[in-house]
């Protein structure tokens, strides 16, 4: 028979084992979010197609036609924006969903026990689904523009994983803070909006090459390397990818993950008292 011992600080030791035991719930929570996502909508999952396409059209117009940003490579500007936007959408909405995952499940937090980390972990299901839909439209679009992806394509999951880890670790910190201070709920959309312009989403890094602090750019913005890497993996001729840009990204992910796990674990037992 299962033995449980409850005492102050005890759950620490069995936390990861518990998390594994509840893996089925992770799947069910993720499935819940996906099922609910397009309920009571007329066109359903088609929204996952419409949103990125409309965003891309608007940005090609704004950046390319109005702001006259030219890319020095021969790659179609639409492809640069499209690849940036679907990846950024994945990162941004994962980050947002994860940040709101605890407060959004307040009724569960105050009524039943399970490792709280399940809630942020399951929160990226919907953004992931949206990403796959976006990716599925991007591929025929690539072929239409005459770009044929090469072996780099197998590295897409790697960049996706890095993006997920970055969004998750940052989001987990925000999720824990959000329980006590709802200020972070206001802050997150602002960060996302800001990040869109700071990261090379609607332009490639090469566009800002002329700036004096350009060589530190990857260190200032650890996400930039991941986004450029993702572009490189689907656009075989993409010239602006640099493996060394991985160093800041990896350092950033490792540090935020450590902080996130430590902070979340420290705070999670008091969630119920503040939520």
């Amino acid at each position: 028979m299962q033995e449980t011992i409850i005492e102050a600080g005890r759950s620490e030791r069995y936390y990861w084992r518990d998390l594994w035991k509840f893996k089925e719930l992770l799947y069910i929570l993720a499935k819940r979010d996906v099922t609910v996502r397009y309920k009571q909508t007329f066109v359903g999952v088609a929204w996952a197609v419409v949103r990125p396409v409309m965003t891309v059209l608007a940005f090609v117009f704004a950046f390319h036609k109005v702001a006259k940003i030219e890319d020095k490579s021969n790659i179609d500007f639409g492809l640069i924006v499209f690849s940036g936007v679907i990846f950024w959408n994945f990162f941004a909405s994962s980050f947002q969903q994860v940040s709101n995952s605890i407060t959004g499940n307040a009724n569960l937090v105050s009524k039943v026990y399970f490792p709280r980390l399940l809630m942020p972990l399951s929160a990226a299901a919907v953004p992931l689904l949206d990403f796959f839909v976006g990716f599925a439209i991007l591929l025929p679009f690539l072929l239409f523009k005459g770009v044929i992806p090469n072996w780099h394509l197998v590295l897409v999951p790697l960049f996706l994983l890095l993006g997920y880890l970055a969004a998750l670790s940052l989001g987990v910190i925000f999720a824990a803070l959000n329980v006590q201070f709802r200020d972070f709920q206001q802050l997150v959309p602002l960060i996302v909006q800001y990040g869109f312009f700071v990261c090379p989403v609607a332009y490639s890094v090469a566009t800002i090459q002329g700036l004096s602090w350009f060589k530190y750019y990857y260190w200032i913005n650890p996400l930039a390397g991941i986004i450029e890497g993702f572009r490189w993996s689907i656009l075989p001729d993409y010239p602006y990818f640099d493996w060394s840009s991985f160093i800041p990204s990896l350092i950033f992910i490792v540090i935020t993950t450590i902080i996130a796990v430590y902070f979340f674990r420290k705070k999670e037992n008091s969630f119920v008292d503040y939520i």
Binding site: T4, I6, R10, I28, V36, N107, V112, N269, V272
Partner: protein, 418 residues
């Protein structure tokens, strides 16, 4: 076999008093910290930390198959105890050893998603409560049958009636088959038929060797279901043992006839910054020199309270409850506009109305006929004594009310049935 063994568990909450408010926004925390950096003094001077022990040194053992009722007035620590046992919150000190799977029904329908259908919610809720997928599948038909929602399985639960919602929630929990089941006030909802079904299901569960912890204000239900009980007061375990024994102790603790509760200043009176109780009295019209409040005695209930709100529409809603927690009646005053000051209300309770027994009066002050400002629970507890004339039977008169209703009986015809 002992399935739950709790040793000296305590749970502390820290309440910050700081000029009447706490730091709820990040801004306050930041600005205060910055202020303190510049003024060079620490926060602690301004904040009075008050420790509140929701549980204090509670130790007990529960054997397999026991049905344990947890009783005590509001704020006794019952819910905190259940939260600790179901691991929602950690104890500050002490430890609990539990053998077996625990499922808590702190609220039925926990985690239902309104957009999902009944079918999807059965799987979601089951998983949240710790059931494996094949386990849910195995019980699926029984759950649907118990809840009586066959026709609406594919309807989103947001379109369910509240009764259906609760029934489905309970049905899932009832089929959990955990070794230990923790139940908190689920019977407060649902109709009588459903309540009977629930109690029956809980009894079945215990027959099959499961252990049940049951929190309720409804002493009748505790008496009917539980073989053992725990009586808690102010975070401490006062007594644990056979239900009848513990109920007797509980009743003797709460049963103190007070015909008035009077507070001389608003500072010490119960209430909040809007409303404070000044006094509540029972003024009997004794029928003889004995000065007994018995079934022949009519009495007045008179309430006075301080109103700290300017220009508010207020009314009082008064509940007369039996000591087992059932409401016998609820009456309300009309809602009128009041200014700051003392407000009083009184009502007459007729004679030959309440049966003998113990009763409590709770009342709340309501603003704009909808917003309760404060609920004064068990503001007074009193006892009505029995009185009988010309009767050779002295058993307990059943029922909560004992009206004197004309009930003529006459012989209609004479017949010698030869």
């Amino acid at each position: 076999m002992t399935v739950i063994e709790a040793q000296n568990i305590s749970k502390r909450y820290i309440i910050d008093h700081k000029k009447g408010n706490t730091k709820d926004t990040f801004r306050e925390l930041v600005t205060d910290s910055i202020k303190n950096i510049f003024s060079g003094k620490k926060n602690e001077d301004e904040i009075a930390h008050e420790d509140f022990w929701a549980l204090k040194d509670v130790s007990f053992k529960i054997d397999q198959g026991d049905r344990v009722g947890v009783i005590g007035s509001n704020g006794a620590g019952k819910s905190t105890l259940l939260k600790v046992l179901s691991r929602i919150t950690e104890p500050t000190h002490g430890s609990v050893k539990i053998s077996g799977r625990v499922a808590s029904l702190l609220e039925v329908g926990t985690g239902f998603h309104p957009e999902l259908s009944g079918r999807e919610n059965i799987f979601l809720n089951g998983a949240i409560l710790g059931m494996k997928r094949d386990e849910i599948k195995r019980h699926f038909d029984a759950i649907v049958d118990f809840a009586g929602v066959e026709k609406f399985l594919d309807t989103p639960v947001k379109r369910y009636s509240s009764g259906m919602y609760v029934r489905l929630g309970f049905a899932i929990s009832a089929h959990l088959e955990p070794e230990i089941m923790i139940v908190d006030e689920v019977l407060a909802v649902g109709d009588a038929e459903f309540q009977r079904k629930c109690l029956g299901k809980m009894k079945d569960a215990s027959v099959s060797g499961r252990t049940i912890l049951f929190v309720s204000h409804n002493l009748t239900a505790v008496q009917g279901l539980c073989n053992k009980s725990m009586f808690m007061q102010k975070g401490q375990l006062i007594e644990m043992g056979e239900t009848s024994q513990v109920l007797a102790t509980y009743l003797s603790h709460v049963q103190k006839t007070e015909l008035e509760a009077v507070y001389t200043s608003p500072e010490e009176a119960p209430g909040n910054d809007k409303i404070r109780l000044k006094s509540i009295r029972i003024i009997p019209n004794y029928v003889d020199s004995q000065r007994h409040l018995d079934i022949r005695t009519s009495f007045k209930v008179k309430i006075e309270f301080w109103n700290m709100l300017d220009e508010a529409n207020l009314n009082i809603s008064l509940h007369l409850n039996s000591l087992t927690g059932e409401c016998i009646f609820n009456i309300g005053t009309e809602s009128k506009a009041f200014k700051k000051g003392i407000i009083t209300a009184e009502c007459d309770i007729p004679n030959n109305f309440l049966n003998d027994g113990s009763y409590s009066i709770s009342f709340m002050v309501v603003k704009d006929t909808a917003l309760p400002l404060f609920n004064f629970e068990e503001a007074l507890i009193f006892e009505i004594e029995d009185y009988r004339e010309g009767m050779a039977w002295y058993g307990k008169w059943p029922g909560y009310i004992r009206p004197k209703i004309d009930f003529p009986i006459t012989q209609l015809e004479f017949n010698n049935f030869s």
